[in-house]
Symmetry: C3
């Protein structure tokens, strides 16, 4: 990169249709102005302006009259949730279609319908945003979200908004790691980015795909393909220290962009820290995933967890106990309670024992905090205290 610590590097990149990205080709660009279905009375019974989910994404332009029978071949509904409009796409086959709620679909009568989709599918470009915050080290943490269907709130507007605020928070701070934020279309965006940055990815030490962060479910962590990498331990400790219920699940190769980051040719340690995982909530990919489905308390809870993840990443160090033979005399240094023989020691003192005993060069503060069951911040405070007395050395 050639930029120094503290520098910010930000851009929006356009990749032309037809560009080869590994096994894929950047597709045509789709744009849409309007779309509707009118009955013979001239009433708009489906209207893109009311909800952009009404149009099958990537629909080719059409302006035609069709019978009910033919129309129905191009309609998508969810019979099990008859009030909701589904979100559907047709990326790989040229097609047109409308999505609507099942109740409305059921009421459609035999008629001649006017179908209009005022879209273009033409040479253009794939657009993505990238933000890079340079820290002391070139080793970097990757946060990625997708921007391809922000009409839905939990999946995926919540991820975009959380990463925007996380980036704002980290900007202008002294950082140990460098941080990269990607705002990309799912799948093809990740593939494109990896293709363009293949020579840089060995710097990626870990990362998270951010999505589904505002619903009422408990926090869920889908592990990286490596399963026991730095980011896996950091997120696990973040969740434990939250004191809240949470779930950790093993990596699986379907899902979001971790599929690409974790493909065997890269095997990057990228996990997903979400609330209810994609596909596990009823509202997923429907009009019901709206601003009522998410709540600010849950989104900010997720935000605080992402902050905590970066806090642990930034604060974690490995120290060497410079007085490894027996404990040092803490009393002389003001680090031991003056009245002794209490039933239980104060937490800071217990944390100090943990840091002294396991700072043998093999364990970072993160590992000591996991082993001890104490909060990461307690272990960190103990290390800071010991560092001042000269009993520890940074490795």
């Amino acid at each position: 990169m050639g930029i120094g610590a503290g520098q910010v590097y930000r851009f929006v990149k356009e990749i032309q249709t037809g560009t080869r990205v590994f096994d894929w080709i950047v597709p045509k660009e789709w744009n849409i102005k309007d779309a509707y279905v009118k009955n013979s009375k001239g009433e708009k019974i489906i209207d893109f302006k009311k909800s952009n989910l009404h149009v099958l994404n990537y629909s080719i332009p059409i302006n035609s009259k069709v019978s009910l029978k033919e129309l129905k071949e191009h309609l998508y509904t969810i019979p099990e949730s008859p009030d909701w409009i589904p979100y559907r796409t047709s990326y790989y086959q040229e097609n047109w279609g409308f999505c609507l709620n099942y109740n409305q679909y059921e009421k459609l009568q035999d008629d001649q319908y006017e179908v209009v989709i005022d879209s273009t599918l033409e040479e253009g470009s794939l657009t993505y945003g990238e933000l890079y915050l340079k820290g002391e080290s070139e080793e970097e943490i990757l946060f990625s979200c997708y921007v391809c269907h922000p009409s839905m709130c939990n999946d995926n507007l919540s991820g975009i908004s959380l990463l925007v605020f996380l980036a704002k928070f980290l900007k202008n701070r002294n950082l140990k790691y460098s941080y990269r934020f990607l705002f990309i279309p799912e799948t093809i965006g990740a593939i494109t980015w990896l293709s363009l940055n293949e020579n840089q990815i060995s710097k990626i030490k870990g990362g998270l795909v951010a999505t589904c962060l505002g619903d009422a479910g408990r926090s869920t962590y889908k592990k990286t393909r490596q399963g026991n990498s730095l980011i896996d331990k950091v997120v696990e400790k973040t969740l434990i220290d939250s004191g809240e219920e949470f779930e950790i699940i093993e990596f699986f190769p379907s899902g979001s962009d971790e599929r690409q980051f974790s493909s065997p040719g890269f095997n990057l340690p990228i996990g997903n820290l979400t609330r209810t995982l994609y596909g596990r909530f009823e509202e997923y990919h429907t009009s019901a995933d709206d601003l009522n489905f998410i709540q600010s308390e849950f989104l900010s809870n997720s935000f605080i967890k992402y902050l905590k993840v970066t806090y642990i990443l930034e604060s974690n160090r490995t120290f060497l106990n410079l007085n490894p033979k027996c404990e040092p005399q803490l009393g002389r240094r003001g680090l031991y309670q003056t009245i002794g023989a209490l039933k239980s020691d104060p937490d800071l003192q217990i944390a100090i024992f943990w840091v002294l005993n396991f700072s043998d060069g093999k364990n970072s503060l993160l590992e000591i905090s996991l082993k001890s069951g104490m909060q990461f911040t307690q272990i960190k405070t103990a290390a800071d205290t010991l560092l001042k007395t000269g009993l520890l050395k940074t490795l």
Copy 2:
């Protein structure tokens, strides 16, 4: 062997009394024509012709008159199951005796009894059967059963019959592995076979001792001494995929012929795939282990599991994903649903992701199917599909 793939090699071998086999010597051959006990009225109260379990196996010949007291020193019963005749042997000490049900034993009156055992214990030979099906590879799978007490049904006629049908099924097929079937007397037969074939056993990649396969209990797998070998994984996956309840138990060095195959000088990965394990059912080694105790539905269920074991062994391959950087574009190859953004992907597509992601040279289909929790056949179908598109290479 010097025989080509597809060849069948079958023989019945006779090993002479007195032959040294490791620490053992092939014993005298025992044959019996008749045996009975008559009371003073001349009534046959115990009759070998009614059940051959009535004679203590390996009994020396006798023709004598004895008192009730002396007779009783040679009688074997099971007081807890008073209607059943036990099966007993005296291989290592020359002796004679009769087995009978306890109810009858209790009724014996003071009398002069005529005991006749018309047996011979003489120089002869140990007889065993062996069938070898040559596959493409010299690496072989060993299936072993014992033929020393086929008067009882679950232990051990069920094992013999299952292996006969398994051998018939595999014969005349194109096989990847070679398969060897042993029909041997327990213990001394296994020792004899190992002694005669010591220079060949490094070809044995895994195997099973077949016994207790027709009772109503759930399937049980006793692991090999190695504990995590190919056959252990294959059987585990077979049991998981069955959708039925099962039990897996760790290796222990008593039991059947896995004792010999797994002795520390060989340490062959030979497990036991049974239903209720030997010694765990009441009818074990008694006259109650008869044709009523086993049922054809259970025996065929076991047979299907053995078939499935060979199916997985034969079908398992390790592939290399030839497009390891990001996913290949499946849509272009007709392997991705045309309408996207569904709540959950079809199983085949999930299986395709698993195969692509983990075909990194370290995982076979078997391991991928275990990791994914999907059926082995689903993973295999995905691999077959991908193979046709040229996305995989066989390792």
Copy 3:
């Protein structure tokens, strides 16, 4: 040491005040003759002669008149257990004080009090006792207890008494390992001993800190820092074989002298075999930890467990099966039941199979007994039996 097997080496060592021991300095010696608090009527309301816990340990001498307010700044109580006198110390800060029960504290009235502590805190020495029993090997087992507050019974008189009897038991026996017993003040004593014996500690193969051994709680084992060392396995097997409930907890670096032995510069495998762990019982460090709190049946139960630990340590061996290919013919050697085909084999025979199968040079009897789930003594008996037949060789 230069002393032969069977030799006993015993001494009481005095280490002078001011001696540097690692990061610490041996402190002044504290002695006390009497102490009391009198009210203005001349009544002794707190009297050291009634309970030596009444004085804050290491109190400097004082002879003064104080108001109730000033007195209260030097009084220590336990409001939650208002009948008990706490045990408190002030090692690291010169101070004086009295400990009393909270009920009495509450009744103290405004008055002028005479406080007298007839103590000395002067140059002197730290005193500890050490006993060394030389065995065949220089490898040694360390048993340590602390002698600094024997006024309390479970913590710590129980540890001292148990180790005295254990040492008496082991003395004059032929021992495989050497055994060292330490009777030291907690913390400073362990540090002093380690400092004086730094060049010897590589001989320590394992050990236990003995404390809290007479209460009614179940046995508890706090593992060594290494977690899977010889002593960890020996104690685990001892507890399993007891057939009683027990608890095993992971190492943590606060606690008793294992803190020093397990500091990262030494990392000695020293665990704690106790009943209720220090700090987990209400009576801990109070006047209620008295002769009523412990019972002889529990103390002797603990003693028997320590004996069993030394028994396993002394008896454990690793053997090599000299007949590793198939089982040896046990019948010929009188080690197999003469009537065969029983539903379950006798325990000795099962144990013999375990020893033969796993005496492959990698497993000691201890490991075989853990793996088999059989009692250590059963496995040992089997090994002894096999050794007589020449089927095993000691490694």
